[in-house]
Amino acid sequence: MNNPYQPIPAIILKTMDETPNIRTFVLKPEREIPFLAGQFVELTVPGHGEAPFTPSSSHFMRDTFEMTIMKVGRATGALFDLKPGDVVGARGPFGTPYPLERFAGKDIYIVGGGVGLAPLRALFLALIHESDKYGRFFLRYGARTPNDIVYRHLLPEWQKIPKVDIDLSVDVSDEKWMKKVGVVTCLMDDIPCDEKKSIAVVCGPPIMMKFVNQRLLDAGFQPENIYLSMETNMSCGVGQCRHCRLGPYLTCKDGPVLTWAQIKDIENPFV
């Protein structure tokens, strides 16, 4: 029988530094991991532990996949010491993907903060791959400083794609920064889509999601149309160990993306 706790080897093909503490890893697993945007993979750094990450590459390409990871703890610290050619472990895919069928025909308003753009990239690439199915795509992204912006080289390319509208902000600017300064909600004063019908997708630090969510609700987005990436301690990944419980949900099984309609009654979900 299949063993859900057993990782398979995945070789690191390449790494790209996005910011001083965020790096993209290109991985080739021994067997394909058939993820869909929004699902996650448990990554094992041999001898140092395991942690969940959402692929940031398109789910239309699966023989290799990318993960954009911030160095925050023990496992990620050890991961940053690895080089191309080194082998990590991978289990998955786990969790529930974005319900793209619900997004059909609608404008998609995506708000990202910091490394939270990584899982949103997988969604964005899936959307533009079948661009005709959807309305327009708005991406609002905030980072701490211009140096903390991930996918800096990709953003200008994405802006050229038809129907795509991108705006950026940084909390603290430098002399070269020409765009807005402030937290990401400063990009949300004028939302150029029909709030009642559009889909909003948010991923970022909990405090950012809290305020962005409130801003979206104030603007008129429907609770069931606001998709939030919830960060809880997803350990087993398969809905058993219970570490990731968030109210009535297991984030690893029902999430990690949940709508505001699902979590609005949970006391302080953005911890």
Partner: protein
């Protein structure tokens, strides 16, 4: 289901037949406590008189789940994957309803979902479950409040009642092989024999005893009551006052199924272990970046009640509690959950 009688004089012969074919575990009394014990052929000579009396005591100290969902189980290795081995075939003889019903909890979580635990299922498949009546409930027992009984109703392959020293078995098809080890020792019962009548009377007496020990039923809408109280910190604080966070209640619990996956480095790779975990542990819900939704103990305390008597009931139609009483027998702070549940 069929009923078979094993006369007192044949019990040890039958046990030695079982030992020839299976690993056999029975509860035995040691220093007034009942513990699971692996029966060895020599035990039948040295301790012949303590096997039957222990069958009439309440559940053993160790929850039966530990045979299937082991406290520590190696579940993975890297880079070479772990090759599962076939566990030995065994008989657990003398399981009380408060240990039998919790196996349904583990079946639901580890055995029935989209992802199944092959290690649990292998142990489960290779274990024959023999229940035993619980004729003498103790003050710590409260299975009656959770809808259980001092005898097995479903889930066992066979069920034992000791009537005047003779062993009376109700046997399911799945347990027939136990009788087949020595069919000449058993007599098949049909109809209302005196043994069956006596067994049923003794069961009624045990139920009556439990209803005296725990006279007041729990709130029929316990899930609703917990949900309403979830953020009432004063309520939980009052009941958690003497808790020293030893996790004894969780480690003894026959239904708790939380676990931690952890890796240990070995040369050129790792071993992965699935170990029982405790939701009272401070870092239980903490994420890699450091955020912790249940950093305060009082939230973890309330979370346990929310999990066992609200969420699990809602998700799976049963409480993740069987009323075995181990949690407060283990409690250094003398927190009797019946008092907490009774106030909800």
């Amino acid at each position: 289901m069929a009923e078979h009688l094993l006369p007192k004089s044949s019990v040890h012969r039958w046990l030695s037949k079982l030992l020839a074919r299976y690993a056999v575990y029975v509860p035995l009394e040691r220093e007034k406590q009942v513990h699971w014990h692996r029966l060895e052929p020599g035990d039948l000579e040295t301790e012949p008189d303590i096997i039957a009396p222990a069958q009439r005591r309440i559940r053993a100290s160790e929850p039966v789940k530990s045979f299937m969902f082991q406290p520590r189980q190696r579940v993975g290795a890297f880079p070479d994957p772990l090759q599962p081995t076939e566990p030995e075939r065994r008989v657990l003889l003398g399981i009380k309803d408060c240990d039998l019903v919790p196996l349904k909890v583990h079946d639901k979580i580890l055995g029935e979902g989209e992802f199944k635990d092959p290690f649990y299922l292998a142990q489960r498949k290779n274990t024959i479950l023999v229940a035993a009546d619980c004729p003498v409930p103790e003050q710590s027992c409260f299975c009656n409040l959770l809808g259980l009984t001092p005898f097995a109703q479903t889930g066992a392959d066979a069920a034992l009642s000791i009537v005047d020293g003779d062993w009376l078995f109700e046997v399911e098809e799945s347990g027939q092989e136990l009788i087949d080890t020595a069919p000449e020792l058993f007599s098949r019962l049909t109809g209302e024999t005196s043994e069956v009548v006596k067994r049923d009377e003794e069961r009624k007496t045990a139920v009556a005893t439990l209803n005296m020990i725990n006279a007041r039923p729990l709130n029929p809408d316990l899930p609703g009551a917990i949900a309403a109280r979830l953020h009432d910190e004063a309520f939980w604080r009052k009941h958690a006052e003497t808790c020293v966070e030893c996790f004894g209640c969780l480690m003894g619990c026959p239904t708790c199924y939380c676990f931690l996956l952890y890796d240990q480095a070995k040369e050129n790779g790792l071993d992965r272990t699935r170990a029982w975990d405790a939701c009272y542990e401070a870092a239980y819900a903490r994420v890699g970046g450091g955020a912790n939704p249940r950093a305060e103990f009082i939230k973890r305390f309330a979370n346990r009640f929310d999990c066992k008597w609200n969420q699990f009931k809602r998700d799976h139609g049963m409480y993740a509690c069987s009323g075995c009483g181990r949690c407060f027998k283990a409690c250094m702070g003398k927190i009797d959950i019946r008092n907490v549940l009774g106030e909800l």
